[in-house]
Symmetry: C2
């Protein structure tokens, strides 16, 4: 028997750029200066690249990757041949040193005419960025693939544009990290902040202290060989790798193998969140001997000048409850645990300095006792950053860039490191604000869905940190981010493709069309609301296979629908094209639950979404009734409106950790009822 | 501006299995014997496997892969732990020898109850098959993932169940081949026939004759280290790797580096199909010295007992035009070029035997002068195979299993090695028919789309070769193939996901919904019609990025639509549900071109499909008019019918290498007009 279900369906409008009269260039981050020319440079089978000037391994590999990616984008199997008349010439003045440094010249110029293209850059690093820009310029046209004529002069606004990836809460294998490096390079990010240890796992092999990984990782860690290869992979993409070993807090995983480092009693485990926890004991000299050897080893493994020691959220209760630590504080005249942490950090900073490392830590490390050489990473905000800068400390912004909080892209995009108190700094103080880092904390991600938590939103953060401060047009950003999202998929990222696989898993062998309709209008709850839904500590070994895990952080459909409703309301309910489109969406949602309900019932992974699907149907019905009243020029009964508002209030409540993102525009429609109709 | 286009849309019915009253098990190939029990075995976080009995590296690795794949399927992060009470016990009586052999016992039994599961097998090879069956049993249910209670006793019908993959016409990298091995193992295929050389490329590093790959591959070849690792990867999956080095025909790539092997003059090249070609010169003793050393080296690299020498389609003109070869024939009393080839094959067979290899070749190698030890692979059909068997030669069927001919699955599925003349053989002769091989010839595939040319159709061929001869239900096959197709995607094959990426490439940043509607109802032209569309020799360096390259070989939508029309017609036009569904499809197609047309115009890759999209719209309109006449109880004017038939005839013609697969059912509707209506 066949159960061919029927429904109406809408094109999802994501390719906004295509519809614009003046085709905008789908570049992200937007370059500092773009001058469009006339004509196009065809990208054909005879496309070739010639490198002149300085060469280094990163550029050599970068050009090879460029050709491979251009081939993936266009499907043209370019044949490696030295062309006498190259299509693209790449010229860098200077090769880079083996170890990439903060603040190297990343600028480049890219000129495309209808007969050829040139990238020139002071350094090979800039040339790599120019290659990425060229890739974003190439589009399909009616006469084949081509890059538009353009002159681009580009350089970054901030020298530090990073992404933190937490691999402790959930282990992320090297291959998944590598494709994320590819994505970072595509949007010109230049720092991977590798959050390698936390309470839930210590992820690096140490030969000096083998029990760190052997006992603190449940077998999920990177070998030193893997790390070396990974750092070199990053280096080839112009990306510095900064390791973070969080201490003295967030460090339970160290204590599984080395309980003597802890301020309290073990035995410790990374397997059970209900077991004992602790923080590092800063009063024992052995701790510093350990850290000295540890930093020596890790400092060699991670060649970058910066070394992140974490330093955030130290739970003082573990110090308060230890009489020896209390005695130590008293003996040294320390009044607060902050003082004790500052003491620890000072000692640590000296160890780092001995091994030629610059210390970086979270807000809490800021303390007047520490030298001005350290860098502060702020999860608290621009004001903290400004306060640090006023004291002479350099800083990075991560506040506002927490990808795990499931914010819409526009909200991240609006956060500027130089706003708030930072806007009032002197030029010298402003120069201390090095940039920022997005943060992908990993309580709720697996290797399967981590890409979709990072991308494409991370592209907009990359733009915030690279492009001029006045690049703030949200519509333009969304259109360009859509194009970049497609580019990233072709690079190998799975942020889009994974969702369908996860939906299919939930649905068994059933068709996922109706499930996709639902998935397209929900988002996971925001901020720390998922945390607070947990009863007791988070179960880090639970499957993450629910709709909340598959859903995109931001619903394109809801954004588009909301825009449509705005347009319709602003037209005085006269825009009939908009109304027709709104009606089609509402009809789709109105009848989707009828098809989806049986599927939801058949799958243990889907059952919890039953009320969400029902709410969507009720919203569809309410919206359709509003349109019917409007069309008939009738005011609907007061009681009806009250009933619909009750439906809407009901639909606002998160169910199964999901927010139904079309509630607000439907509410707007319902509230608009009684307005003069067309 | 927003251009939110509206359209109606249908659920594509692919999950037929779900709709059936008696849930069938989604197993492919269907086991020899299945007895369903009652209850289900839950697959939860505590799932564990215990191996008892014989062990070997293949089984060890197989169990690890099994757990990893079960984890991918279910999303459950199983934690490796030795369970006292394992969920699944695997017991094999006997480990296998290092080199897998034809005819090893592959049988297994799998018992699942609501409290546990057992696999028992005479060999670890059988146990591997049992693990694959278990994976296919696990489904999502309303109470979580589970395997239904069942007793399966299974063994293959044929000992040789292979897939030929041609890597000469287009090079296929090792990682793509590996995921295809994973797919083969999932459907219990046990031979990869690796077509490693042909006119267009010699793909294996030879240390004895380094110019073979260095000059004959344009840099696209496998190193010996890669091959060793690959053979071991296959071995771990119970798959034998048979190399094929095609000779004396299809061997231009040998002559680029070693022109002295050729019967005619060079210089030869693999880059230009217009350049000189040739076949091997069988009259020079040096040829046999070369082959002796070559077989010695390759025989070690490929440990399997079988060695494929090709032997097909030898173009005699190269011998005819060489006076020395003519003289040799005369001197040896050979009348035909077949005699000369038989002479060559005899000599070759002796060389193979010296290096402990069994010769296998295509139909043409069959000649009474050759010993009965050789095996014949038939592209000609079961009658050839039967004729060989009657002479005492063992054989394999490939006729009917050419995946590159773009046949619908049901057509491959209907081909049985034991039908035709083979059905009349004696039991002893029948035993000489070892099985068969599907063939993926690579004129028209790239690493990007090769998966979709092989899968999921290859699953049905695997079933033909494994399952009992009376397993022939086509509807059941399609339903189970759908489930296997999803399994294969989760294993890493890209047969489904690639199409959307290719469509997106054609569409730039535009939404691909309308393009997908078109892609869903077209198929590439069949058999060798694409070949004949080429003007001159095939350009093996051309991009394969057209719709014909992205389209699935078989349109599920067209098959479903055709079934609907059958159902409607057979109901005497009374089945209103079917009519409504037909109407929705027709409406979708009727209005799709209006949305798609601008997109088609904007992309050089899409323009050629403009008439196909227009034809689809006209078919939709014609079908809708038939339904309208039927609904009104009217007979339509004769002239109208003639006009529609003209539209249909027009739509039947391939455009841009594409067949519009809904023409026939629409024609059926139009022809049915004038019938009594409901």
């Amino acid at each position: 028997m066949r159960t061919l279900a029927l429904m109406s369906f809408l094109f999802v409008v994501t390719g906004l750029a295509v519809c614009q009269a003046q085709p905008q260039l789908n570049l992200m981050p937007l370059p500092a200066s773009v001058q469009q020319g006339s004509g196009m440079l065809p990208v054909t089978r005879s496309f070739s690249v010639n490198v002149t000037g300085a060469r280094d391994p990163a550029l050599e590999a970068g050009v090879q990757r460029f050709v491979a990616q251009l081939s993936r984008q266009t499907g043209i199997p370019f044949r490696p041949k030295a062309g006498a008349n190259p299509t693209l010439t790449v010229h860098a003045d200077k090769a880079l040193e083996a170890i990439q440094k903060l603040g190297e010249d990343e600028s480049y110029q890219l000129t495309v005419t209808d007969s050829g293209a040139q990238i020139t850059a002071p350094t090979t690093l800039g040339a790599l960025h120019g290659l990425q820009t060229f890739l974003q310029l190439v589009t399909i046209t009616s006469s084949g693939f081509a890059a538009p004529a353009v002159t681009i002069k580009d350089q970054p606004r901030f020298p530090w544009r990073g992404t933190l990836i937490d691999v402790s809460r959930h282990f992320i294998p090297i291959d998944v990290l590598k494709r994320n490096l590819d994505g970072m390079a595509a949007v010109k990010m230049n720092v991977l902040h590798w959050h390698l240890s936390d309470d839930q796992g210590f992820r690096v092999e140490s030969k000096t202290f083998p029990k760190l990984a052997a006992m603190g990782s449940e077998g999920h860690y990177y070998t030193q060989a893997e790390i070396r290869e990974f750092v070199s992979y990053a280096r080839d993409r112009g990306i510095r790798v900064i390791p973070e070993f969080d201490t003295p807090g967030h460090s339970r995983s160290w204590f599984v193998g080395y309980p003597e480092l802890a301020s309290g009693d073990g035995p410790f485990t990374v397997e059970d969140e209900n077991g004992p926890s602790s923080v590092t004991d800063p009063t024992r000299e052995e701790t510093y001997k350990f850290m000295d050897k540890f930093v020596e080893e890790m400092g060699k493994l991670f060649p970058d000048a910066y070394f992140h020691i974490g330093g955030d959220e130290v739970d003082g209760k573990f110090w308060d409850s230890n009489p020896k630590i209390q005695a130590f504080k008293q003996a040294h005249g320390m009044k607060t645990n902050q003082d004790l942490q500052a003491y620890y950090n000072q000692r640590l900073q000296k160890i780092l300095a001995k091994h030629h490392k610059t210390m970086i830590g979270w807000d809490e490390v800021l303390h007047p006792d520490l030298p001005k050489t350290i860098t502060v990473q702020s999860w608290r905000g621009q004001d903290s950053l400004a306060a640090a800068a006023k004291q002479g400390y350099s800083g990075l912004l991560s506040y506002g860039y927490y990808l795990d909080l499931m914010w819409p892209t526009a909200r991240h995009y609006a956060i500027d490191p130089m706003s708030g108190a930072a806007a009032t700094l002197t030029p010298e103080q402003k120069a201390l604000i090095l940039g920022g880092e997005s943060c992908q904390w990993a309580e709720w991600v697996t290797p399967e869905n981590v890409d979709s938590h990072i991308w494409p939103r991370n592209g907009a953060i990359a733009e915030r940190l690279w492009s001029p401060q006045d690049v703030t047009d949200v519509n333009s950003m969304y259109a360009r981010m859509h194009a970049v999202s497609l580019e990233l998929e072709s690079l190998g990222l799975a942020h889009n493709s994974t969702r369908d696989r996860m939906l299919q898993r939930m649905a068994g062998t059933s068709d996922v069309t109706a499930l996709r309709v639902l998935a397209n209008v929900v988002e996971p709850v925001k901020d720390y609301n998922r945390w607070s839904d947990e009863k007791g500590p988070i179960d880090f070994h639970a499957p993450l296979t629910r709709m909340i895990d598959a859903a995109y952080p931001e619903s394109d459909t809801a954004r588009e629908f909301s825009n449509l409703v705005q347009q319709f309301v602003q037209s005085g309910y006269k825009d009939q094209a908009a109304e027709a489109q709104i009606r089609t969406w509402l009809t789709l949602w109105r009848y989707n639950d009828a098809k989806l309900h049986p599927q939801l019932q058949q799958s243990a992974l889907l059952q919890e979404n039953t009320p969400v699907s029902q709410n969507l149907a009720m919203l569809g019905a309410a919206g359709l009734q509003v349109l019917d009243y409007l069309d008939k020029g009738l005011a609907e009964p007061d009681l009806w409106k009250a009933q619909q508002m009750a439906v809407i209030e009901q639909a606002k409540k998160p169910v199964a950790g999901l927010l139904l993102m079309v509630v607000a525009p439907v509410q707007q429609l319902v509230e608009s009822s009684g307005q003069p109709s067309h």
